[in-house]
Each structure stands twice: as structure tokens, then as C-alpha cells.
């Protein structure tokens, strides 16, 4: 699949990419793959935040739906009437690093190096997503990551994986069991997540 963005900020546990097309970020909870300096190694991340704003630090978008002459513009019309917006606004998405692949092997723990800034970010197709989620070791990294909506993120990732696999229901049951063992001492949190992935 074609690349959708480029890393603009990177650290050991998470990375942020700018989307090449305004407003076209991969969905929340989806798996993305960032290229690294070694051709055989790529880093996997789960998208946990998407934002669009001014490229200029401190800049803000202004309202444009009511024109100077009193005409009303709606939604996509505004972008059509102001082609410069695509040049001054930027859509970014951040992903928490959940593993990496080296040649054909996939690992669900942190890679030796984060993806370098300016390297490409690709979306993962169903086969790649299904393959990566064979194991559920990354559940733990997501559940206990700080400052991200971890319950929502993990539920979204599990739902997406279930959709991508032919054995959707079996996968959801499997994921539910894994969650139950990880959250055995937090019943409220477990039920909240289970409700979010219920078939």
C-alpha cells in the first residue's frame, strides 16, 4: 500500500506523522507501519490521536463558513473555495509503538530504535493486521501506557482486528479472555472494555 505520511516526531515509545493529504489520517485504533533505516526492519504503531491545525506554531484556523459578502459555505465547499488551506493546515497522527518486524518475524515489544524522523509511514492491510495480532502481547503495553485513551484505543484495535479476520467471533472471545487475565484485579475497567468489543 502507498505511504500516507511521514514521521515528524519520534521517540522510543511513540511517534507522530504528518499526513500527506489534509484530513486523511488513518482511523483511530488502526495499525500503521513506519520504515526504519534498516531495510528489513519496520516499526508498528497504533494510532491513538489525530489532529489538524495550522502548520505555523501557535497559528489557529479561522471561521470561513460565512463569506465577506454574506454567502454561506458548507464543509467541503470551504476547502474548494480556499485551495491555500491545504498548504497552511496539516493533519498529524500519533501512534504508540507496539512492536516491530524484522524480515518476516514480528515482535510485540519495543524495537531497538524508533523510526527516524522524515521516514515513511504506511497503513497496514487486513492480512498484515491479522498477522500482527496473532499474539496479544501488545495488549499490556497499550493498557498500561500513560496519557493516551488506552481503553478506547485497545477496544478499537481489537474491533478492527476482528473485522479483518475471517474468524471474527473467535478472535473477540480470545481477546476477551486475554483482557480478563490482564485486568483480573480491575473488574470495572474490564467490563468497560468488554462492552466496547462485544460482537
Amino acid at each position: 500500500m502507498e505511504r500516507i505520511g511521514e514521521v515528524i516526531e519520534s521517540s522510543t515509545t511513540r511517534f507522530t506523522a504528518g499526513a500527506y493529504e489534509l484530513l486523511a489520517a488513518p482511523p483511530f485504533g488502526s495499525l500503521v507501519r513506519a520504515q526504519t533505516r534498516s531495510a528489513g526492519i519496520a516499526v508498528y504503531g497504533l494510532v491513538y490521536e489525530i489532529r489538524t491545525g495550522s502548520k505555523e506554531p501557535g497559528g489557529r484556523a479561522m471561521m470561513r463558513g460565512r463569506t465577506y459578502s454574506g454567502r454561506n459555505l458548507y464543509d467541503a465547499e470551504i476547502y474548494h473555495e480556499h485551495p491555500d488551506l491545504a498548504e497552511v493546515l496539516q493533519t498529524e497522527f500519533s501512534a504508540i509503538t507496539v512492536g516491530y518486524c524484522e524480515r518476516d518475524r514480528r515482535y510485540q515489544y519495543l524495537p531497538p530504535h524508533p523510526p527516524p524522523v522524515h521516514y515513511s509511514v504506511y497503513p497496514c492491510d487486513d492480512a498484515e493486521l491479522g498477522g500482527f495480532c496473532e499474539s496479544s502481547d501488545f495488549f499490556r503495553s497499550v493498557l498500561f501506557a500513560a496519557q493516551i485513551p488506552s481503553d478506547e484505543l485497545l477496544s478499537a484495535a481489537i474491533r478492527a482486528t476482528a473485522r479483518a479476520r475471517p474468524d471474527s467471533r473467535d478472535y473477540l472471545v480470545y481477546a476477551g479472555r486475554e483482557l480478563a487475565s490482564l485486568l483480573k484485579d480491575d473488574y470495572d475497567r474490564l467490563t468497560a472494555i468488554l462492552r466496547r468489543i462485544r460482537p
Binding site: Y68, H80, E81, H82, L85
Partner: protein, 402 residues
């Protein structure tokens, strides 16, 4: 301690009081001057001649009317599709106390296309000038440093050259198009320059206008809140007791008959008024006022077929001044196009043309960038083992010593 704000606050309050007081008398004067202007409608040819014959001897700027003085033309239909290019520049002036002799010009470049296939391309292009021929203009015997006004003149030329480049790159479609600049097209700053300096910059500037003329791409510039008093200058002629067009006699301020008779000059009622004060009343939203030719010396004497014309257009609470070269002004379709496109641009930008706003954003050099540039320069000179020390004065200003 830099600025004593307590002391300043007192003066600001006094100033506000004085400004409010003078506003009342200004309003009264304005209405009398506007009445005189309106009376002259129909006699444009007469006052155009008066402006021509007074050009050398009047102490004020003049405008040569080309259209009826009461012109208030509605905004023409805005084309569905159009394209425009715009440029703006900023500079880091040569720092006499800095570590190296150089200056930087950053040109913001904008291309916008509206309509069926909307597209935008924004970029900026910095150029560092440091060679002898960049830093000085020379005619063999005289050597003039390019700084201050002359650097601005160089930047104006670079902005124009950037427009030609943009036009060649982007304005190839079969839609109405326009090249837009910020500020005036009249290079006032060169008026007082030495002849060879003026020839150098003006030659290049006019070559840019030639290039656009050859390509058939109309050029315009947009001035937000203009303060020029050229139309007011022509009204001064209407009030002047010495003007006698039939006798070929223009205003001659050095032999003012009012002053000779110990009276206040009749034209002093115009003191402090600007063109927008005169035209504000006759233009409603989107309308444009009459075309004039600017009679400034450099425009009349050096601009050839590029002689700059101007008109005013109402955009919201403001009258903007739009300048165009003669070859655009003499084609009514082009004038209509400029009128419509400038209004559309200002509308899209919330009162100021969006293309110029974007060009400025691209060109601007912020103080953080300025510092980074200085550090880059010093570090690079240091590595190159060139002398990179700043002057003692600059060092002394860098921080407060205890």
C-alpha cells in the same frame, strides 16, 4: 529598564484627547473639500491640464484624472475560474556591527487557482548576498552601499522577478489571470537616488513589467489603508487662486499669492486630508472610484508605457488603493477584471487579499529565525576560520552587565 510605561501612558492619554478634539474640525473641513471635488465633475480635462502644468512647481503630490470624478462603478461579475500569482519579500539588512558583511532577502511566492481545479502552491526562497557586487553599486568612480532604501529597492526588483518566474511556471492555463504585488508599484524610494543607482534598479524593475506585458499578464498592486494625498493635491489646484489653465499658468507654491498678501494659503483647508477621505463618501461596498494617473516625478518621467494609474475600491470599512500600469489601465476589460479579482481576493481574505496574506506569511522572517540565522552565520564563519567577531558595541548591547 527599557521603556518607562508609566511616563508613556500619560502621553498616550494626552494624544488620544488631542486626536478626538481635532476629529470634529477635520470632519467639517472634509465635507467642504469633498464639495469642491464634486463641483469639478465634468471638468476633468481642465484639471488634468492644470495638474500637468503644475507638476514641476507645486509643492504637493498631484493626480491626473482619467475618468469622471464622480465615478462609482459597481463590481463586475467575478469569473468562476481564475488564477493568480503573488509575491512578497522581507530582508535581514546588512548589520554594520555584525560578524560578516551580508544581507538576506527572503521572497514568498504564491500561486492560487480557483474554480474547477482549485490548486495552491506556496513557497519561499531565501538568497544570501555577500559578494562585492551584491553589497555595492558602482559606476566606476562612485561606490554606493546597498542598504536601507536601496536594499528595499533591490527587494522590490526581486519580488518582480519572482512573479515572472511564477507566471512562467503556473499561469499557462486558459483562465483569467493576474500578478499581484503588495504596496505601491511606484518606486518612490528611488526618486532621490543618484542617477546611476536609479537607472540600475528602475531599469530592472521596468524590465520585469516589460516581461509581464509581453506575456499579457496584468499586473496590479494592492495598498491597504493608503495615506497618499494625490487626489487631494489636485483639489488644492481647484482652490488655488493662482491657477489659470487658459493662460497656461499652474500653481507655483514658491510664489503663492495668498502668502504674498499675508493670508493663509487657500489650499491649507486640505492640510492632513488624504485621498480616501475624499472618495469614501461616493463608494459603496465593492464599488471602485475613478482612475487617476499618479503625477509623482519618477512615475511621469521614467515609467514609459508602464506609467502607474490607480483607483480606489471599497472593501468593508476600508478603501483600498489599487495600482496598475498604463497598458492594463487602457484596456477596460482588464480594469474590470482587476476590479473583480481584487474584490474577490479581499473577500476571501476577510478584508485583505488572501494571496498577499499568504505571500507575506511565506516571506516573513521572525525574530527567532533572525537569531538562528545569526548563529548559523557565526558558527559557519568560525568553522571556516574566517574572522567572525561582532563589534564591541554589539557585544555591549547583548545583555545588561552588573
Amino acid at each position: 529598564m527599557g521603556l518607562d510605561l508609566t511616563a508613556l501612558g500619560r502621553q498616550v492619554r494626552q494624544m488620544s484627547g488631542a486626536t478626538a478634539l481635532s476629529a470634529a474640525t477635520t470632519n467639517e473641513r472634509t465635507s467642504r473639500v469633498v464639495a469642491r471635488y464634486r463641483e469639478a465633475t465634468g471638468a476633468e480635462q481642465h484639471w488634468a491640464t492644470a495638474a500637468n502644468i503644475s507638476r514641476e512647481t507645486a509643492n504637493w503630490l498631484l493626480a491626473h484624472p482619467v475618468e469622471p470624478l464622480d465615478t462609482a462603478r459597481n463590481r463586475p461579475e467575478i469569473p468562476v475560474s481564475y488564477a493568480l500569482v503573488a509575491s512578497d519579500g522581507s530582508q535581514i539588512d546588512l548589520d554594520r556591527h555584525g560578524s560578516a558583511s551580508c544581507y538576506l532577502i527572503n521572497i514568498g511566492r504564491v500561486f492560487l487557482r480557483y474554480g474547477e481545479n482549485p490548486l495552491a502552491r506556496l513557497s519561499s526562497e531565501p538568497v544570501l548576498y555577500y559578494r562585492e557586487e551584491d553589497l555595492y553599486l558602482s559606476n566606476g568612480t562612485r561606490r554606493v552601499p546597498i542598504e536601507g532604501n536601496y536594499l528595499s529597492a533591490r527587494r522590490d526588483v526581486d519580488e518582480g522577478v519572482a512573479l515572472v518566474g511564477l507566471a512562467d511556471e503556473f499561469l499557462t492555463d486558459d483562465v483569467p489571470c493576474l500578478a499581484l504585488q503588495d504596496g505601491t508599484l511606484i518606486r518612490w524610494t528611488l526618486a532621490g537616488a543618484e542617477r546611476f543607482v536609479q537607472d540600475h534598479f528602475l531599469g530592472r524593475y521596468l524590465a520585469y513589467l516589460d516581461a509581464m506585458h509581453e506575456r499579457g499578464i496584468p499586473v496590479a498592486s494592492y495598498i491597504s489603508r493608503p495615506r497618499s494625498p494625490e487626489v487631494v493635491g489636485t483639489i488644492r489646484l481647484m482652490l488655488c487662486p493662482d491657477v489659470d489653465v487658459a493662460a497656461g499658468k499652474g500653481a507655483n507654491c514658491s510664489e503663492c499669492s495668498d502668502l504674498a498678501d499675508d493670508r493663509e494659503p487657500s489650499c491649507s483647508i486640505c492640510q492632513g486630508l488624504v485621498d480616501t477621505d475624499i472618495l469614501a463618501g461616493q463608494l459603496s461596498e465593492g464599488q471602485r472610484g475613478p482612475l487617476f494617473i499618479s503625477m509623482s516625478r519618477i512615475n511621469v518621467e521614467s515609467y514609459r508605457e508602464h506609467t502607474i494609474y490607480f483607483f480606489h475600491m471599497r472593501v468593508g470599512r476600508e478603501l483600498a488603493r489599487i495600482e496598475i500600469p498604463q497598458w492594463v489601465a487602457q484596456d477596460p476589460d482588464q480594469v474590470d477584471l482587476i476590479h473583480a479579482l481584487m474584490y474577490d481576493q479581499a473577500g476571501r481574505g476577510g478584508g485583505y487579499p488572501v494571496a498577499l496574506e499568504r505571500a507575506h506569511e511565506q516571506a516573513v522572517v521572525r525574530s527567532a529565525d533572525r537569531r538562528t540565522f545569526q548563529h548559523m552565520l557565526e558558527a559557519s564563519l568560525y568553522r571556516a576560520e574566517a574572522d567572525a567577531s561582532a563589534s564591541a558595541k554589539k557585544d555591549s548591547k547583548s545583555y545588561i552587565k552588573g
